[in-house]
């Protein structure tokens, strides 16, 4: 495999936006191409992420329209990726695989989502389409419900009383809002405290409103290129050290939801390919769709032993300046979660961190960063290790 680098990265502001999916994606895509010192005609493929355009805008098969919006040549293929919330990370991984294997030299990858256009009841219904349609969603399961069930298993298995676990989960939200308050692109740029979380409305017991990330609109895109070409084009290419992706089936087959089996397989691939391990990681953008999700992820990465990550935020170990900085962008919790775009925004944050371009939320001396994105009922995990 050839060495692969990320050149330009860009994201729109995340939040409730008055723009179409295509407008958001074109803004991010054109900025990423320009920051790579390239032009749209230089792209050899578009790997385009979107999950729910059918319901948001009545638009399926959005990739060719994004291609036209960007002004890519007709001979450049545009392909839609859908891996639920892991969509854009999977698109970027496949771009990197084809650049690494020599099929292409330069690919634009990313995603867009306009979830807020649906309103909460329809958005909750369409997100629930990520559960097994016959054996799980008919019971009225929701995504907060999945992670709520994981929190109950965690409390029982590791003998952490639910009240104590919830207070520590609230600390995860407090941390990610603290980071998000420094991110001008974040959906929520506001600090909160533990009481904000514990006084919130109950969504799915034991998860309250501020345990949950929001529905968001937004887009993000990155240019993936062969490393030699990257060095000719930009001052600070960031290299893909290793990648992983793994899959698991319905929850009733996964059983113990305190262990995300697909993540354990995916991160093992990424560590092996990069020759790096948890001790090498300086900064992480991980999938904190719910507060408990961040705790589970830290344990899967080997950054903490199983059953031990629940108080990492409370001890400030995962804050800026802590032993490993987790979600300096604000994470899905505060930065927002336009599901088809999320992975590309995580890559954007890590690339900017490794280039030293993150301003007040810069992780000093960051050399190795980890991207982690989860799709569906722990069904897809994609990890990318990035390095200087």
């Amino acid at each position: 495999m050839r060495q692969v680098a990320i050149l330009g990265v860009a994201m729109t502001k995340f939040g409730v936006l008055e723009k179409t999916n295509l407008e958001m994606f074109a803004e991010a895509g054109l900025e990423a191409i320009a920051l790579s010192n390239l032009e749209p005609k230089d792209m050899e493929a578009l790997y385009f992420g979107n999950c729910l355009g059918d319901f948001e805008e009545g638009q399926m098969h959005m990739a060719p329209f994004a291609h036209a919006e960007l002004g890519l040549p007709v001979g450049v293929p545009a392909t839609r990726f859908e891996s639920a919330c892991a969509t854009a990370t999977v698109a970027i991984r496949h771009a990197a695989l084809l650049v690494g294997s020599g099929v292409y030299d330069v690919v634009l990858a990313g995603g867009t989502e306009r979830a807020c256009a649906m309103g909460t009841p329809l958005a909750t219904r369409t997100f629930a389409m990520g559960h097994h349609a016959q054996h799980e969603s008919t019971a009225g399961l929701t995504f907060p419900g999945v992670f709520a069930m994981a929190a109950h298993i965690y409390s029982e298995k590791y003998k952490v009383p639910l009240k104590e676990l919830k207070r520590n989960m609230a600390e995860v939200a407090v941390k990610n809002h603290f980071h998000g308050a420094m991110n001008p692109k974040a959906h929520f740029q506001k600090e909160i405290d533990v009481d904000t979380v514990l006084d919130g409305m109950m969504v799915a017991d034991p998860l309250q409103l501020f345990d949950c990330c929001p529905f968001s609109d937004g887009a993000a895109a990155v240019v993936v290129a062969e490393a030699g070409k990257a060095r000719d084009l930009v001052k600070k290419p960031v290299y893909i050290g290793g990648m992983g992706q793994a899959s698991a089936g319905p929850l009733y087959l996964q059983k113990d939801l305190s262990r995300v089996m697909a993540r354990e397989a995916s991160i093992a691939q990424a560590y092996r390919e990069s020759g790096l391990g948890p001790d090498d990681v300086d900064v992480v953008e991980l999938h904190d769709c719910f507060t408990i999700a961040e705790i589970l992820a830290l344990e899967s990465f080997g950054l903490y032993e199983f059953g031990k990550a629940y108080d990492a935020a409370a001890k400030r170990e995962t804050y800026l300046g802590g032993r490993v900085v987790v979600n300096p962008s604000g994470g899905l919790k505060a930065k927002g979660h336009p599901i088809g775009a999320t992975g590309a925004a995580q890559v954007t944050e890590i690339v900017e961190q490794l280039r030293g371009e993150s301003g007040p939320r810069q992780v000093e001396g960051a050399r190795v960063g980890l991207v982690d994105t989860l799709g569906g009922d722990f069904g897809t995990i994609c990890n990318i290790v990035l390095r200087n």
Binding site: R125, A128, G140, D205
Partner: protein, 133 residues
């Protein structure tokens, strides 16, 4: 490769009050709900079996913000059947506000109830229920 027990046949069983699973002739595991192969060893040498209808609550949640078309609050739970397979369903017969950590590990009997289909699903379906014993 033909399914020994399709989703439709599984649903018809629930309608008759039968919990149909698949016993593996290779490793003796029981697969429930049905799949084309054994959930443990991937063998396709399976035969239809009646489940005991007994299980243990392994986790639960109370859904208070529901998808369009569902009326909260209601309890979603996963139970481990006495045959070893886990299954998703609704815990019924209790006030959702009484659902707390004391439910973990509680014995339940399995049944099913009818859930109306919506625009996006393939029609009405029967969903597994759990009742405390």
């Amino acid at each position: 490769m033909e399914y020994k027990l399709t989703y439709e046949q599984f649903q018809q069983g629930l309608e008759r009050g039968e919990l149909l699973g698949l016993k593996c002739n290779t490793c003796n595991s029981v697969t429930f709900p049905p799949m084309v192969r054994c959930r443990e060893c991937n063998s396709t040498d399976l035969e239809v079996t009646q489940m005991s209808g007994k299980g243990t609550i392994r986790t639960f949640t109370v859904i208070r913000v529901a998808p369009e078309g569902m009326t909260p609050p209601y309890v979603v739970a996963m139970a481990e059947t006495d045959e070893g397979a886990w299954v998703m369903g609704n815990l019924v017969g209790i006030d959702p506000d009484d659902a707390h950590m004391g439910l973990m590990g509680k014995k339940v009997s399995l049944g099913s109830h009818l859930v109306k289909g919506d625009t996006y699903s393939g029609g009405d379906s029967r969903v597994i229920t759990f009742s405390l014993v």
